[in-house]
């Protein structure tokens, strides 16, 4: 044996300590927020109160207050609507575009491909203010208030911002499918549209699921576009930020932590359900931020 036994055991212990340290540093803060969301406000303040103490009872009223008085219920609804609308729009737009880009040859294809690739380098944080200005000048030009603070417009902006990456991923997948399917379909008298909807799109299901997972997380968690474009029709992330700002002055800790739980619970549930798919899909490429 090359290694003496005690040496091996010691190195194994070190490995475990390293792994446990990181695991604890992730679990404790996240778990603590869940615990804190059930505490009364009096359990946060005062000299003899420890943040590490367990809640005296499960004070679930924090959630009721957050949902009703702090409007998190409305914001939750807004987030659901915007996420769902953006997702539907994205799929309806991106699927045909990716399919055609991957499997047809036509004039201008090269330019379009380059255009979509170039889109991958555009980051929303740089262009969020120009988008805001564009929408507000559209309001002025048409004499309406429609373009800003509108959930549908927000969903359209989300869908547009996700287009380059989604088209990149989906058309990459469409390219790998064998050519024979379409030919057989055409011979059977199937039109272009029917071939796409009935045969090719169902075959791309694995990559469509990846697209849905990633974009659900990014739409649901998105903050800066909503913060810039919305005023009143807030999404959950914005509502949470307001709660945090209020917390600095009025100190309503329990409700703020309930808000944190409301925002992260759906993503955590989704993650636990599909974590394998998510971490595998991630390596298909992609950059967050």
């Amino acid at each position: 044996m090359k290694n003496s036994k005690p040496g091996k055991i010691i190195s194994k212990i070190f490995v475990y300590i390293a792994l446990l340290t990181l695991a604890i540093s992730v679990i404790i803060p996240v778990g603590w927020v869940f615990m804190a969301s059930f505490k009364r406000n009096s359990e946060f303040m005062g000299a003899d109160v420890s943040p590490w103490a367990l809640p005296k009872q499960l004070f679930y009223q924090n959630f009721i207050v957050a949902f009703k008085d702090a409007n998190m219920g409305t914001f939750f609804f807004n987030s659901v609507i915007v996420t769902a609308l953006a997702m539907i729009l994205l799929l309806v737009l991106a699927l045909p575009a990716s399919y055609v880009l991957a499997r047809f040859s036509f004039r201008g294809k090269k330019i379009l491909n380059t255009g979509y690739m170039a889109g991958l380098f555009i980051n929303i944080n740089y262009i969020v203010v120009p988008i805001f200005l564009m929408l507000s000048s559209a309001n002025k030009a048409l004499g309406v208030e429609w373009f800003l603070n509108n959930r549908f417009v927000l969903a359209v902006v989300y869908a547009a911002s996700a287009l380059p990456f989604t088209v990149y991923l989906l058309s990459g997948y469409f390219k790998t499918l064998p050519k024979g399917f379409e030919e057989a379909a055409y011979i059977d008298g199937c039109g272009y549209f029917k071939t796409m909807v009935k045969i090719m799109i169902p075959m791309a299901k694995p990559s469509i699921i990846t697209v849905i997972l990633f974009n659900f997380l990014s739409f649901w968690n998105e903050y800066i576009i909503a913060y810039t474009l919305m005023d009143g029709n807030d999404t959950l992330a914005m509502g949470l930020k307001n709660l945090m700002a209020v917390e600095k002055t009025a100190t309503n800790y329990g409700i703020m932590y309930a808000g944190l739980v409301i925002v992260m619970l759906p993503t955590l549930i989704l993650y636990i359900a599909v974590q394998k798919r998510l971490t595998e899909g991630m390596t298909l490429g992609g950059l967050k931020g």
Partner: protein, 296 residues
């Protein structure tokens, strides 16, 4: 002939809506960033005046911007350094070690990556709170009272608190990425090395590291771009650059100038500078890390 024209029609109908949206909401705003950077734009009256490169001249003398850039460079360097080291370390431990709970650790480490940046700011608000925060009460409980700090306001500490939060959120993501590229290394390399009596550390430096190097190199560009973006979002929510610009980062300063201050032209000029800076930095890093790629 008929078939050809119906094909053209189909292609057009499939592509037009997505492409129009892409141009309208991604390309035109991008062009506007560059165009507006050459104008002086008033907020309320919406007046536009062409001023050439004057905005860029003002940037060079803007102390607040220089401080933001200084902080930004520090954040990029530190986040990249610590995340690469920790992510590679944990990827190696999980990939090479065969023990119980391997998969569970991977699942836990990835959690920060699925949380909204607002949630992360909320969590770190709870950690850094000077009086009742998790960090200070923990330090006091284990007798390290002297280490307790005002994490978001004292001295030079705040920017490092931001860095710590960003590393915390990034480790899992990059670890999974490195694990995937480690999994592609053929196992017989390790078997052969092990027969020759190589230690785990030797195997790491002679096999694993050289073979995942090209993957690490690609991620360096990711670190630059995503750290610029995530540090903006985190700081915007957590401290908005305060106290006294100590945690100010590049894009947050741009956003403040453009959206908060309504100096759109000046803000967009800052955006252009940051954009060019990030591209140049990525190109430089790419150049200096260029070395022979080992293939397998």
């Amino acid at each position: 002939m008929n078939r050809k024209s119906s094909e053209r029609k189909f292609v057009f109908i499939c592509l037009a809506p997505a492409t129009i949206l892409l141009v309208l909401l991604m390309f035109i705003p991008t062009v506007n960033v560059f165009r507006m950077s050459l104008y002086k734009m008033g907020g309320i009256t919406n007046s536009q005046k062409f001023v050439g490169f004057k905005n860029f001249q003002s940037i060079m003398g803007d102390k607040n911007f220089l401080q933001a850039m200084q902080n930004q460079i520090l954040v990029i360097v530190m986040v990249t350094l610590f995340t690469v080291i920790l992510a590679v370390l944990f990827a190696t431990l999980l990939q090479r070690g065969s023990f119980k709970g391997n998969n569970l650790f991977r699942v836990i480490f990835y959690i920060p990556n699925i949380l909204s940046i607002v949630v992360i700011a909320g969590i770190f608000g709870a950690i850094y709170n000077p009086g009742t925060g998790l960090l200070n009460t923990f330090l006091r409980a284990v007798g390290l009272d002297a280490l307790a700090r005002q994490w978001m306001s004292e001295g030079q500490i705040p920017i490092y608190s931001v860095i710590f939060a960003l590393v915390w959120q990034a480790i899992g993501y990059y670890m999974v990425m490195y694990m995937a590229s480690m999994a592609a290394i053929p196992p017989d390399y390790y078997e052969a090395a092990s027969l020759d009596g190589a230690t785990e550390i030797q195997m790491f430096s002679k096999i694993t590291f050289p073979l995942i190097w090209s993957n690490i190199r690609t991620t360096l560009t990711f670190y630059i771009i995503s750290t610029i973006n995530l540090s903006f979002l985190f700081v915007q929510i957590m401290s908005n650059g305060g106290p006294n610009g100590k945690t100010e980062v590049a894009l947050n300063y741009m956003y403040k100038q453009a959206y908060g201050n309504s100096s759109y032209g000046y803000g967009m000029a800052i955006g252009v500078v940051i954009f060019i800076f990030s591209f140049a930095l990525a190109a430089i890093v790419n150049k200096i890390t260029d070395r022979e790629v080992y293939e397998f």
